[in-house]
Structure formats: structure tokens, C-alpha cells
Symmetry: C2
Subunit: 515 residues, 2 copies
């Protein structure tokens, strides 16, 4: 191994070696399980003292990039190498045109990509229990009905099913959505519905139309990762509004709005992501009135609003909106199937045409055949039956997770019963941050989303988000048992035998890469 060293610098030799090896590991040049040269051999070939190499290896081991196996040498860590590579901002080799690096420098890396890196790296582990994923239970996917719906569409519509189609979406599907919304108290007409490629695209359209660099957007703190990313990428500053068990603390909002002069407010009022809370009716009414007073659009993300397991129904903000201030965003990803990539927004007034023009601009139209198949599948009655079935299943799973938490969590852990949605928000005991805990959890073969990812400021947090909807009860039980064990082991400080520990580098998960 040829490590480029220079004596004409104040950087110590051991640090030069550390940095070289770190970059080689992060860029994948040294893949997982690669055996590093014996320290004696490397020292000799570089003409340095053996202690210099030993120090470099110790540093890399402390960072979790390598591990040593007694008697056989030092190896590149399998999990952390890919985790770090996924999280590094510029994990590339040199030699590309300069404009490529300039473009990279201008763009803030997205938390979504880091989240993917986290999942991808963790997925290397066998027998992993994944509480991090954002999807529902795949056994609920109405596969057979959809197979038939596709067939019916091909038979009925012929080549029309494969033509471009209306940029606003397949008109009969928009009508069906308007009927579903009306059945839930949201008065909407088909021509106020805009079909999007998932709710993420609806948010991208809103950001494109409403935000300019330097604008401020209000969001709940914490809030959905994809919203943080999309508003930031539009150049907006994010100001967080605190959340309690009744949802966004609307009482504090007047003051925040006067100070921040936001261009929009984004909220997930019903079964909030990540905390699972539901905004009270009083706060909903106050929020809508406040938006009107301050000429401020509300972007209402209703991604799981129909997945209610107990408690009272609250009206959607859109149902309370008489002036056209609320843009309502929803998706079939969570209630029906994510692979459809069909979401929609509902907006009244001139902004609808702006959003439609933006939709056409960025991808012309969402695939016609899928919209037609969804329309063939779905009726108001069928949708409600599907929702009912999902609610039954997910209620049981939520209860399983709650019972397991009560059984396996050490004293000091806290959670609130969510009345709907997909997620539980767990506060770790004793000030342990999710970033500190993560390596121990991976070691126990269980993962979650570290809470920091959901906060606009993204500093380390003592919270984790757990998906309770995706797994069967015995997997949930086992996963929570592992999580409890990970916390206990971490608290006992018993991590010396693990090579996974991210000690002192927790922040790397929250947006920074150790230099």
C-alpha cells in the first residue's frame, strides 16, 4: 500500500495515514473486510516508526471504520464503511470535469439520501428488524385486484391507456378522489385535484411555485424529512414550531409568524410524522383563521389521515378553509400501495393553474395507465373497505408495540399512544441520543430512524421513530426486545467488544461527515 506522505507540513504523519485510509475506505477503494497491511509491514514500506501506523489504526478503529481481530489483523468494517460512504458528502474519486464539483458544492446534500444510506448499509445485516422504513404492511397490497384492474384497463382503453393523458391527471380518477374527499367532509371538485407522482412531488410543486431563495417556511419541529429537504432545496429558511401531544403549538404561532414573515406553513395535522400526534380541533380552527389573517398559505400533508384507530375524527384543515388558503396533499402510497406513485393535491384559486403548469413542466404527467388502473380499482366504497381493513391490522400492531415497549424499555423511556398513522415516537431514557444508540442497535439487529433527521436543526436528539405498521406482531415484539437490550447495553457502557460504535461521531448521522 502506497500512502502519500509529506514531511513538509505540520500535519503529523499518523494523521496523514489516518486521513488517507479514511478516504480510501469511504470512497470504497478499500471495500468491507479488506485486511489492512500489518502495522510492521506498512511502517517499513513507508519508512516511519511502527507506533505511527499503530496510532493511525487505533484512530480508525475508534471511528468504527476498521476493526481488529485478535491474531489475524485489522479489517475494514463492513457496516460502517458503506454507511459512511453513503453519508459522506463527496464520496468520489478525482478526475472528473471541474463543473461537476462546482455543481456539487452549490447543493446541500439531502437527508433523504443519507436516510437511504442508513437503510442500505444496515440492510447488509442478516436478520435485521427494520423499524426505520416508512411504508405500510405489504400483505395489505391489493395485488390481485390491481392485476385485474390493469387487465381491464388494457381491454377497455386500448392505446388511450398508453397515450400521454391530461397533465392534471386522468379526469375520472380526479372525480373519484373528489368524491372520496367529499365523503370525508372536504368539499372538492375534480378540477381542483391535481394528480402527482406521490405526495413528495406535490410538495415539490408547492415549493417550486411558492418559495424563492431567502423565503421562510414554517414547519413543525420535528417534521417529515422530505419536506425539510424540498423546502431547503428551494432556498428557504426553515423555522420550526414546537409540537406537543395536541400537535403543533398553534398558540405560539402568531408571534412566530410576525417575527418570521413566512411564505408558507407546512403541517401534518393528523397522525403527524414522526410523532404520531393529532392536532386538536381548537388548534385546527385557530390555525386556519390565523392563515387568513396573515395571508399565509397552509400546506396540509394528510399522508395517513384516514388511518385512525381510536379517538375522535378531526376535520381536515382543508375542510375548515373557506378562503382558498389551504393546499391539501395526500397519497395512495400509505393506504393502498407505495409502488403506484400516485398522490394528489387539492387547491382552489389561481394557484391551481400555477401548480399544474409546474407539474407539466417537471414531468408532463403521471403515468396514464397507473392512474387508469387505480381508477378502475377504486370506488368510494372500496376505498373505505380497504381503509377499514388497514385500520384493523394496524391497530393491533400498534397495541403490540405499545405492550412490548412497556415490557422491554428501561425506566425513563417515554412514548405517547398514537391514535392513528404508522409511527411511534420514542424518547430514550437518560439523555441517550439516537446517534449514540444506533451502533448498539445495529449490533442487536434492529434499526430505527434517529430523531435528529426530523428536526430542521438536525442536532442529536434523544428520540427515535419506530414504524409499528409494517411487521407482524411477533417481529414487533422481538424488535422491541432487541431495542431494549441495545439501550441497556449502551447504558452499561458495555460496548468495548463492538467495532460498530460511532463514539464521538454521532453528528455524522445528522448531516456532517467527520473531516
Amino acid at each position: 500500500m502506497r500512502v502519500p506522505l509529506t514531511r513538509e507540513t505540520c500535519v503529523p504523519l499518523y494523521r496523514q495515514i489516518t486521513e488517507f485510509l479514511r478516504s480510501q475506505i469511504q470512497s470504497g477503494v478499500l471495500p468491507a473486510e479488506t485486511r489492512l497491511p500489518a502495522s510492521r509491514d506498512l511502517a517499513q514500506s513507508l519508512g516511519v516508526n511502527r507506533i505511527t501506523v499503530t496510532e493511525a489504526y487505533a484512530e480508525l478503529e475508534a471511528e468504527g471504520l476498521v476493526y481488529s481481530r485478535r491474531g489475524s489483523g485489522t479489517f475494514v468494517s463492513p457496516l460502517l464503511a458503506s454507511l459512511r460512504r453513503a453519508m459522506a458528502d463527496h464520496p468520489y474519486m478525482d478526475g472528473w470535469p471541474a463543473w461537476q464539483y462546482e455543481a456539487a458544492k452549490l447543493t446541500r446534500p439531502t437527508t433523504l439520501r443519507k436516510f437511504d444510506g442508513l437503510l442500505a448499509a444496515s440492510a447488509l445485516h442478516p436478520n435485521l428488524i427494520d423499524f426505520a422504513n416508512g411504508r405500510g404492511a405489504s400483505e395489505l397490497f391489493p395485488m390481485d385486484d390491481f392485476r385485474k384492474a390493469f387487465q381491464a384497463v388494457f381491454r377497455r382503453d386500448g392505446v388511450e391507456a398508453m397515450a400521454y393523458g391530461d397533465p392534471a391527471g386522468y379526469p375520472p380518477l380526479r372525480e373519484t378522489i373528489a368524491h372520496i374527499l367529499s365523503s370525508e367532509g372536504i368539499p372538492a371538485r375534480g378540477n381542483q385535484v391535481l394528480i402527482t407522482t406521490g405526495s413528495q412531488q406535490a410538495m415539490a410543486l408547492v415549493a417550486r411555485v411558492l418559495l424563492r431563495p431567502g423565503d421562510t417556511a414554517l414547519v413543525e419541529s420535528p417534521t417529515y424529512i422530505g419536506a425539510i429537504d424540498i423546502f431547503r432545496s428551494a432556498g428557504a429558511e426553515l423555522v420550526g414550531v414546537p409540537v406537543d401531544e395536541q400537535g403543533m403549538e398553534v398558540e405560539r404561532l402568531e408571534e412566530i409568524v410576525c417575527a418570521a414573515k413566512p411564505r408558507l406553513l407546512y403541517t401534518i395535522p393528523t397522525f403527524h410524522n414522526p410523532t404520531g400526534t393529532c392536532m386538536s380541533g381548537r388548534r385546527r380552527r385557530e390555525l386556519v383563521a390565523l392563515a387568513d389573517r396573515h395571508n399565509m398559505p397552509i400546506v396540509e400533508d394528510d399522508f395517513v389521515g384516514d388511518l385512525r384507530y381510536d379517538g375522535h375524527t378531526q376535520p381536515a384543515l382543508k375542510a375548515l378553509d373557506t378562503c382558498g388558503n389551504v393546499i391539501h396533499i395526500c397519497t395512495f402510497s400509505k393506504v393502498v400501495m407505495p409502488g403506484l406513485r400516485v398522490g394528489y393535491l387539492v387547491a382552489a384559486g389561481p394557484v391551481y393553474e400555477q401548480l399544474l403548469a409546474a407539474k407539466e413542466l417537471i414531468d408532463v404527467t403521471t403515468p396514464n395507465v397507473i392512474q387508469r388502473a387505480l381508477e378502475a380499482f377504486i370506488t368510494v366504497g372500496r376505498y373505505q373497505t380497504h381503509v377499514r381493513r388497514a385500520c384493523q391490522l394496524y391497530r393491533r400492531r400498534r397495541d403490540t408495540m405499545v405492550a412490548a415497549l412497556a415490557r422491554y424499555m428501561p425506566a425513563g423511556a417515554r412514548w405517547v399512544l398514537p391514535h392513528g398513522g404508522l409511527f411511534m415516537w420514542l424518547q430514550l431514557p437518560g439523555g441517550v441520543t439516537a446517534e449514540e444508540l444506533y451502533p448498539a442497535a445495529v449490533e442487536e439487529h434492529v434499526i430505527f430512524v434517529p430523531g435528529s433527521m426530523f428536526f430542521p436543526a438536525q442536532e442529536a436528539q434523544p428520540y427515535v421513530r419506530l414504524n409499528f405498521a409494517m411487521h407482524s406482531p411477533h417481529v414487533i415484539e422481538e424488535g422491541i426486545r432487541r431495542l431494549g437490550r441495545a439501550i441497556e447495553q449502551f447504558q452499561a457502557g458495555d460496548t468495548s467488544s463492538h467495532c460498530w460504535r460511532l463514539s464521538g461521531h454521532g453528528n455524522s448521522m445528522a448531516g456532517q461527515c467527520p473531516a
Copy 2:
């Protein structure tokens, strides 16, 4: 009818009436075929001279907004009302929150929406022959194969087909695309391919990653409407590079690049949209070398590169690119089916990760099931068979259109034989602009895209774009016959009997609405 008039202004009364009625027609308050009050009645109710009302009606008729039927009165024109409504920048009624108007003011209306308005308004006409559309022949859509491919995917993949899937695209499809590209001399690996929702989304990603407000982008002049829109919406200034029969005039480029310092160059080298020309091999090599010299990315739009009917194959710019300067964009919309909404880009180097992050940010991923069905359908051999069949059909149609043009065009009309693609670019005789001709063509029940839409500056042009691929030979023949007649009638000035004439307002089609 209550027309608000004021005497406390220098605006004449007849003009106040004209402006009020124009806004009512454009906003749809007065729908098509509404009978206006008799001039005598309106004059009486407003307390003005009858001649004032007559003048106002005459002005509206000259603009094509109303027509008079002898003995029965004055009526709102059916076609132009909706055409103008579609083209108006703010066709809305009052009463919405102020932020909605503020958002609209900040956004430049897209040419794509205007183009839709043109098509939608014209489609009201029965028996219309549409040479404006951008798609291929729907009888080539492999509907039956695709129906089977969907079934096969449902059977084979089960719920996996409806899960989220890889943000970069379904890996086996990316491998297949890499094989197809390699078979065409473009060395690509699957992990350099990024699946997008059509090529329009690929362009949106490139604009998002590479362009910032105030940047300059070079484009051919004329060029694809969607490219003009997407680059402009990113805040870029467009600088046009002239095109001749050998494609972009690369010889002039060095000077333009030095003056404009562009952030990127966008080109459609093969069967250019709208002119149909193909860039010569010499120019391709010069262009790639120049990009390297100037550290400038080339965005190569290869939307119909495989649809070649005669002449020599030219290498894709990506095939000549050894440094990573070319981002290659392609789509299955034109060669297979537009309703798939599957396109892709190919990029090497760090910019790939930026583009991928942008893709995930704006819609997470292109629908999984469609990607899997396309992958099940397509192999290198099957793709090439499909391309061969399309080429046979389109070659005949192109020849039909060329023969019809020779037969029916008046002296002075010019065109160049395109060796591939979907479009012919017709230069109208005698300096007639497409905008002037359009109403006469609609009257003859034939439409095209006015050339102005393809130019960055969008002023009136003596060019029209004709799609030769979409229609059967006898429809092509009849359409060109009608077009010839429209030109002759326009040249003869014989338009007095038509209410459609846009006389003196041709520019409204090119981006401005008469005030």
C-alpha cells in the same frame, strides 16, 4: 349587462366597453356562443351613443373575439374565446387570497401550457387534422405485449412490484438500457443510468442541479419548447445558437461561449426538434472538444435518435465523450409508448449522485411496476425489432408528406428532407408568419405548431412544425392539401368571411396576451 364606465378618464368610452367585454370573454364569464346585447339596447342601458357600442363590437370582431351573424346579432367566438382564455396569463376571477396572485406574478407562464391551450381550443373543431402533436403512431404501441408484461410482473414479483423501489430505477431495467446503449456505441454501465419520468423530468433534474438564477444556458435556436421552459423556470438566461442543415452551427460556438459564459449547453443533435436536422460528425467532434476546453457540460437530448430512415448513423455525443462532460437524455415515449412515462439519463462522475438526490427529492422514484413491465417487455433484440418496425412506417409517412408538400404548397414554401425523427419544418412562402396563418388553417381544419414557440425570443416566425409520423398517409395527404389551401386563401387576403382571424394579434400566440 352592466358595463362599468367612467367619464373621469382620458380612455374613450368605446375602449372601456371593449376592454370590459374582452376581459369577460377571456375569463369565461361570457362563454362561447353567448349573444351580446343588441348595440341599441346596450347603448341605451349605458347611456351612451349607439355608435360607441358599434365601435366596441367592431373592435372585438377585428380581434376575433366575437362574430356577427347577419340578422341574429353578435356572438362570442367559440374557438378564440377558449384559445385566448388558455393563453391569457391570469385568466382568473377575483376574490382569492393575495398570496395566490403574488405567486402567479413571480412565475413566467410556460409555453407548454400555451401549447396545451392551443391544442385544446383547436380540438373543439370537428374533423381536425392535428400535425401539432408530438407523439408517434399509436398503432405501433405494443399493447398486447405490454398487457402480458404487466401480468408476468404481477405473477413473478408479487408485492415487490408495488413497493417503493430504487430511486435510481429498477436495477435490471438500468442494465438493459446500458446494454441497448452499448449496442449503439455508447459505453454505459447500469449504475450510470438514472430512470426518470420521461425525458422532461431528466431535463428538470439537470436544470435543478446545474442552473442557478442568472446563469446562462446555450440552446439551439429553435429548440424544444419544454427545454426553453424548464431552463427559464430555473432562472437561466437562454442564448440561442443558430441551426443550419447540418444542425447547430458549432463553428460559431467558441465566440458565443466566450461571450456568454454558459453554465451548460443543451442540444438535440440527432433529428432535431423542431427542424429535423442531424448534426454532422465533424461538428459533433468539435462540440465535444469545445465542451472539454471550456469546462462546460453538454446536455444531449436523444429523444428520437434511433428513428433513422436514411443517411449515415452519427455517433451520439455521449459516445465521443471521454471526460464525463456529456449528460445523455433519452426516452421510451417516442419509440415505445408515451404513457409509460419512462425516460432516463446517463451521466458519469459525481454529478450522477447529485442528479439522483434531486430525483429522489422531487418524486422519490418512477413507478416500480411500470419499470418492471418495461424490463419484462424489452430486450436489446426486441427493442431493435420495434425500432425497425417504427422506422419502416415513419419513412413511408415522411415520404408521403414530402410528396404532398411538393404537390400542394404554393411557390416559395421550403422544407428540408429530415432523415429521421417525427417532424418536418416548413418555411412559409412570402414572409407569412405562422401566427398570421393559424386562424386560416383552423378554418381549414388543420393545425400545426407555430414556429415562434420554439425560439428563445419567441417572436413571430415564418415557420411551422409538422408531425409526419402520427397519421396514416391519406390523412397526411389531406392535411397538407388543407394547409396549402389555407396559405393560398391567406395570401389572397380572402379572410373577410372568417371570424377566426387573429389579424394584428399574431403575437398573442407567441407569449403575449393583448392588454
